[in-house]
Symmetry: C2
Subunit: 446 residues, 2 copies
């Protein structure tokens, strides 16, 4: 009974607080790594926070490729935003798509409501981009959301099934080529894991086709893969990929993408599945802030991550463009976004205490890119490592940062299981059972 | 090297076997409980089996409601068919949708190929049905596939989010009613679990709404829920549901379903989410066999599960209609399908050995229906139990029958976690962010 009264009091307290609030109101757009860190650090202050996201869940993007390649289930790398912030009564979570800002009136505009703010933190992130060729998207999905990952999983697994059916029916057979466009970390992860799937996981499960004859082709426009990594690690990653059977082609520019094929100038490469890991464009919300943006749509922020003329508006994460002391652009990775989220929270706290702001300094603790089972490259300052040790570091760091105790245990079990048995736990084809450019797609007709 | 030679030999062996095969060819349509049991038992004989399914995975249907209510991930209750039969080189798995049969020529017809057979086992199952009102489907999804479960999960979770946004925007508020049509095992499971979610899991995670005020309404046309169970267990189930806060309404016929509401004659009940658990119709493939069918489209089979005039064609599982010794129709549940699959395999074996067939006898080992956390009813012959003990039996029997060692461990962890913390691990909203009948759905417009 006492408990019950307590609950009633808590609820009415909060309703009251919302109605007559005189605490500073902070609106945060996006519950990715940056937005979430900002929210959780600000929640300790006497402020009222509204955290707005288009999705009800935070996605642990570094492991998205594992969902795309059937190793993990979506719920193992994503957690409901409400659940993450459940211990903080001064954070309101709102599912919705921000459409615009009224910077003069200090309001965030959603279609059906406006959120007033004293401070605004825009952490709306980035999506994959096709260099002005959005018509390529249906033929070459990218990997930024859970939905993207499920679509890639569907295409990859379905390609083997359709090829088996084509072979069984004696029809003309397409070469089972998987083409990945873009040799950054995502492209490398996808290529390495797909090679393992075809050569190990599915190797002996088909009758009419031999999955081991699958070709995994990684196309990179630049002179080497993992361009943002030191050259020795790029070389090591390329060797590890080749060892897994991946056909790595650098300095190869894709000029067109169509159903079932990519073109590089005159040459045409037919492909059962094409995956896009080449370009990133910042959220279109960046443009709506009226601040200067770079070519990728990122907002050029002040050293304290605020935007010109609006010290109360901050931009962080993949949507922000900032250079470090050496004049090098700070990369769009999770650790940067998290540090920026904490930095903005710190500056708002200082301001509330009447102290001056501090500029943001990125502390680079290292870079890791995984290639496959027990294969990775890692850079910790001057220390460069490759292979099993790099992979172990990658594994533990990523599991450590996964949100939710339950997720960590289950991901560890899934990983141990895959490692010991060469099996993948989430090999489900859901949704449409056809692929662009495949003739057996006529199966959908009555 | 020796291993490598061995692999080559195995593969060419199989190709050869396929081309010139003189072993009896068995085609099985559907890899549900019945089809899978038949395939796995037949695989021990000198026969060549083709197992055809529209999906690449076997779904453990008794736990689908757990996916629909965010407790489990799809991959935890589904396994790739190829993986399940991987140890049997005489089973070919084919992903495809059967369209017709040529019983005279003994061929299964797919759009792009035909599969010849000496024996045919049709185990194509059933789907949910709307009593001739297929126009209700968009407003009231049913629960038969992984896709159905994800759609229900999306609607349930999204309803709370949209209600929170409506409340935050001060707009007109819909009562947060969840209406479940049909008081069979699926309806009871959904109602009980949704009650727990609203009263426990989400209870304290929202600011503007109180999830505990959600109404869960279970509508049943018949005089009591769980009509196929003994009356005392129906009463017990109804009491357990009421205890969880479910509004159970028996003898209540739904006469119309529209976006956001159901009608029962003159009265209209508005509903944030409507779920359909009322009717089942057999696969349309039943009709194509030319055998007599019942009102629900099920094939009236001979006592040995073959169809009239075609002793080489068997129908099993939810697609078959057969009466037991007492003249009572054998229910469409997993244990029946599994026993039928084994019985058909046994009869084919007898025939290959020149022995006569035996008629099928269903051995009823008991019935279990779960209601929620530590709530269930169970019937083992004359022994009827309710509550925690029934739930424990249900839990262990279901986990025991889950396919795959890894799945069992992970499902047990998920369950223990949910039980201890009142949390659900798969609360993701994926896909479209709108609901039929909701005004905030305008959010999708630019």
């Amino acid at each position: 009974m006492l408990l019950f009264c307590f609950r009633i009091l808590t609820v009415s307290d909060r309703v009251h607080a919302l109605a007559t609030d005189s605490k500073p109101r902070i609106a945060i757009i996006g519950a990715g790594f940056g937005g979430l860190q900002a929210a959780l650090h600000l929640a300790r202050l006497p402020v009222q926070i509204t955290l707005i996201d288009r999705r009800n869940h935070h996605t642990f993007q570094p492991l998205l490729y594992q969902v795309a390649t059937a190793g993990l289930s979506p719920a193992e790398i994503a957690a409901p935003i409400r659940w993450i912030v459940r211990g903080h009564p001064n954070i309101d979570v709102l599912l919705g798509e921000v459409q615009d800002f009224d910077l003069a009136q200090r309001r965030v505009k959603l279609p059906d409501l406006e959120i007033p703010y004293d401070y605004l933190i825009v952490a709306a992130g980035a999506s994959h981009a096709y260099f002005g060729h959005d018509e390529w998207e249906p033929f070459a999905p990218g990997l930024k959301t859970i939905e993207d990952a499920l679509e890639i999983r569907r295409r990859v697994l379905l390609a083997f099934e359709l090829d088996e059916r084509q072979a069984a029916s004696g029809g003309p057979q397409q070469p089972l080529n998987f083409v990945i466009v873009g040799g950054g970390p995502t492209g490398v992860e996808l290529a390495g894991t797909l090679a393992e799937i075809s050569r190990r996981v599915l190797a002996n499960e088909f009758t009419s086709i031999d999955p081991k004859s699958t070709r995994i082709i990684l196309l990179e426009g630049g002179p080497r893969i993992l361009l943002t990594y030191p050259a020795d690690l790029s070389r090591s990653a390329e060797e590890q990929l080749r060892h897994l059977g991946v056909d790595v082609r650098t300095s190869t520019m894709v000029t067109d993408v169509e159903a079932g094929a990519v073109r590089m100038g005159e040459s045409r490469l037919s492909a059962a599945v094409i995956l896009w890991a080449a370009g990133v464009a910042a959220s279109p919300l960046g443009k709506k802030l009226g601040a200067p943006i770079d070519r990728a749509g990122r907002v050029l922020v002040n050293p304290d991550l605020s935007i010109p003329s609006h010290p109360e508006v901050f931009v962080i994460g993949d949507l922000a463009s900032l250079k470090d002391e050496g004049g090098k652009i700070i990369p769009g990775v999770a650790p940067v976004a998290m540090q920026e989220g904490r930095a903005v929270a710190g500056n708002i706290k200082r301001e509330l205490h009447g102290e001056p702001r501090r500029n943001f300094h990125y502390v680079n603790k290292g870079n890791l890119a995984t290639i496959g089972r027990a294969a990775a490259v890692a850079e910790f300052g001057k220390v460069h490592i490759s292979g099993f040790l790099a992979w172990l570091s990658w594994l533990f760091i990523h599991i450590f940062f996964l949100i939710g105790f339950r997720n960590r245990i289950i991901v560890l079990i899934q990983w141990a299981w895959s490692y010991l048995t060469y099996e993948r736990g989430a090999r489900l084809i859901t949704g449409d059972q056809t692929l662009p450019g495949w003739t057996v797609s006529k199966n959908k007709e009555p």
